[in-house]
Symmetry: C2
Subunit: 216 residues, 2 copies
């Protein structure tokens, strides 16, 4: 399967032997790791292409050849993390929300996993830095939403549509709106640090959203 | 009613005539306005006490005497905005979520007003800048939550408790958790700019949260 996002050196296509590919792959991952660690340490505004290049042990021209901006490097670094996680989970590079027929259980599974990802100390700082940068920079924010966020939200749309077909979700609801009652409370606690972000909270959000606030 | 947050000059208490008070009040508001406009224009990291003082037409020692940091100035600027809005609305400085007996209508009223505040072009930029700064700075974030966010969230706790007493909200729900299904989706759309933040969306969130996702 061709990975259309793999950066290709602009020059010397004839030299693209397996060895070169492995070297490129190593450089690409080194650049991602450097970008993630740097932005976690010094914040997004102070992270530079030069700094990423120095830490990754590549020339800055290598980065400029493959990516138009540091935002593009960081976004791809997070996309790559997601892919690696999916590969490690044996999902063949594609995440799906499980469909065991028990909607509450499936949503709790995925929201608990989301909690674990959000509080992972290895990635929390760069993830916060990128999100905060997107909040004040509409162009970066739009890229963040289009490439990283919306594809993951569409997994909820798919699962909620299946639940509607199974009669487990009200047919009049727009799944794209309904999913926000599930994911936004977790994002809110994570971003603003109002109260602890725990599995118990993920479960409470699912129960509250499915059952509704008014008595049955 | 004494406003305990009104900054008092440290020196010359004997000179505190009505004229001085008015001058202090004018300086205080000028400093708030300068802080809000500056952080909206250049962002939080590049906003300095010196810059705020210059724009407000006061000496920087005036600011240092009244506030310990630029974060403190900004937070009080937003608190002051809320107070001014409450005064203008004739609420005597205290906001409350209305209780007409119609929970859905009351929540739609307050969430529509929240939408209007969030997209107000005069304050959107500084509000985003302050929120983003708090996301990457835990100390500032905690101050933001304690002074600005949590007090407004407690208004929902109060209204939802009244609704529980009236039998309109399930008695087993924790209002502090339930309210997040109402406010977090709006914050999510506003911060991340996923989809339009409109009154229709506020209404949909209320209907979805009250009724729940599963069929009745």
């Amino acid at each position: 399967m061709a990975d259309t996002r793999t950066p290709e050196p602009a020059a010397k296509p004839a030299a693209r032997t397996p060895d070169t590919t492995r070297r490129s792959e190593r450089s690409r991952r080194a650049i991602y790791d450097a970008a993630l660690s740097l932005v976690g340490e010094v914040g997004y505004p102070k992270t530079t292409i030069e700094g990423i290049a120095a830490r990754a042990g590549v020339g800055k021209q290598t980065i400029y050849r493959w990516w138009p901006s540091k935002a593009a490097v960081l976004l791809e670094a997070f996309l790559d993390l997601g892919e690696r996680a999916a590969e490690a989970a044996g999902a063949g590079g594609d995440y799906e929300i499980p469909d065991t027929g028990d909607l509450a259980a499936d949503l709790k599974t995925v929201l608990r996993a989301t909690v674990d990802e959000l509080v992972d100390p290895q990635y929390e700082a760069p993830s916060r830095a990128l999100t905060a940068a997107g909040i004040v920079d509409p162009v970066l924010g739009a890229e963040f939403v289009e490439k990283l966020l919306e594809p993951s939200l569409q997994l909820y749309v798919k699962r909620l549509r299946a639940a509607q077909e199974a009669g487990d979700v009200r047919p009049d609801l727009d799944p794209r709106v309904a999913l926000e009652l599930l994911v936004a409370p977790l994002a809110h606690r994570w971003l603003l640090r109002t109260l602890p972000l725990t599995h118990a909270y993920a479960d409470a959000v699912v129960d509250c959203a499915l059952g509704g606030l008014t008595p049955r």
